[in-house]
Symmetry: C2
Subunit: 159 residues, 2 copies
DNA sequence: GTGCTTGCAAACAGTTTGCAGATAG
DNA sequence: CTATCTGCAAACTGTTTGCAAGCAC
C-alpha cells in the first residue's frame, strides 16, 4: 500500500467516523489531497476535479476543505491581502501572538532566538529574505471570558 | 525625546533621503505609525487619518504603506483568505519555504525543533492552539534564473 | 514647470453565502 | 424519507488600478 493510498483510507475513515456523507465529489477530492505532493490551492484542486466532475463547483471544494480543516485533516495556509496589519516600529520579522477570539496581536518574547533563517538556508539551498512566525491561541483575558459567557468582546484599540 | 518622536523622525528622514515627496498626508500617516502601539490595519489607520484629513482615501493609505514596506520601514503582516494553500498530508503546523519568484512551497527541515509553542505559552500566558512558521526567499532554481533573464517562469505543478 | 501624489470610482481575486434541487444513508 | 450536500449565482472584503486634478520641489 502506498503512502497516498494509506492517507486516502485514513481520510475516508475519518469522514465516515464522524457521519459525514461520503459523496463521489468528496471521495474524489480526498483522493486528490492524498495523492498531491505539494501545496495545491483551492483552484488547483477544483481544476483537477473538473476532469472527473465537469459540473463541480469551487464552492463545493471550499466547503469540503473547510470541513476537513475542522476535522484536523487538512492544514490551511493563508496568504495575504486580506485583513493585513502593519508594524511601523519593528519592520523586521519577529514572532507574534495572535488571539483567535479578540484578534489582539502582541509581540512574542522568544528566549534565545537561534538564527533560524541561516539554518534553513543551509539545509534547503534557498536564499532567505525573511520569515514569519505566528502563534495562534487565546490571550489571558479571553481564556477567562471563555470559561464564562460567549460575549464576543473585541479589543479594538489593542489590535 | 520619546520613542514615538524618535521613530517619527527616523521615518521622515527616510522619506526625504530617498527623495520621495513629503506630503501632509504622509506626514500624518508616519506620525500615526510612530505613535501606534499595536498592529493597526489599513482601515484603522485610514479611520484615524480622516480626523485630520476628511477627504483622504484608503487608496492613499495603501499606497503609502506599500511604499514604506518597500523602504523596509514597515512590516506587513498578511492574514488570509486569499490565495490559500492546503496540505492534506501533514495537517499540523510545520515550517514552509516559499519561493517569492515561482511561488513553489516546500516543507522546511528544521534541525532539532525546540518546543516553541510551550516556551511561548509560558512567557506570554497565552494558550497556544497552533502556529505558523514560513520562510520567504528564492529557491535554488530561481536563484539561477534571476542571474540571467527576467523570464518569469512559474512552476505550476510543484506549488 | 515637471512629475510625483492624491482621491475618487471602478476593477479585482479569492472566499463565502443563499437557496433550490439532488442524493446518501 | 429526511437531513445533508451540491452547484449555481450573487454577495462580500480587503486590496489594487486608472486617471484627472493637485501640489511638492
Amino acid at each position: 500500500m502506498t503512502d497516498s493510498e494509506a492517507r486516502f483510507t485514513a481520510l475516508m475513515h475519518r469522514l465516515g467516523e464522524r457521519h459525514f456523507r461520503v459523496t463521489p465529489q468528496r471521495v474524489a477530492l480526498l483522493r486528490l489531497l492524498a495523492a498531491s505532493e505539494g501545496h495545491p490551492s483551492a483552484a488547483d484542486l477544483y481544476e483537477r476535479l473538473r476532469a472527473e466532475f465537469p459540473t463541480t463547483s469551487l464552492a463545493t471544494v471550499y466547503k469540503t476543505l473547510t470541513l476537513l480543516g475542522e476535522l484536523g485533516e487538512v492544514l490551511e495556509l493563508g496568504f495575504s491581502h486580506d485583513d493585513n496589519r502593519y508594524d511601523g516600529h519593528r519592520p523586521y520579522p519577529h514572532p507574534h501572538l495572535i488571539c483567535m477570539r479578540c484578534h489582539r496581536i502582541v509581540d512574542a518574547q522568544l528566549p534565545a532566538g537561534r538564527d533560524l533563517e541561516r539554518e534553513v538556508a543551509q539545509s534547503s539551498g534557498f536564499t532567505i529574505a525573511g520569515h514569519r512566525l505566528d502563534f495562534y491561541g487565546l490571550c489571558p483575558d479571553c481564556q477567562h471570558e471563555t470559561e464564562n459567557a460567549e460575549s464576543q468582546t473585541t479589543k479594538e484599540e489593542t489590535q
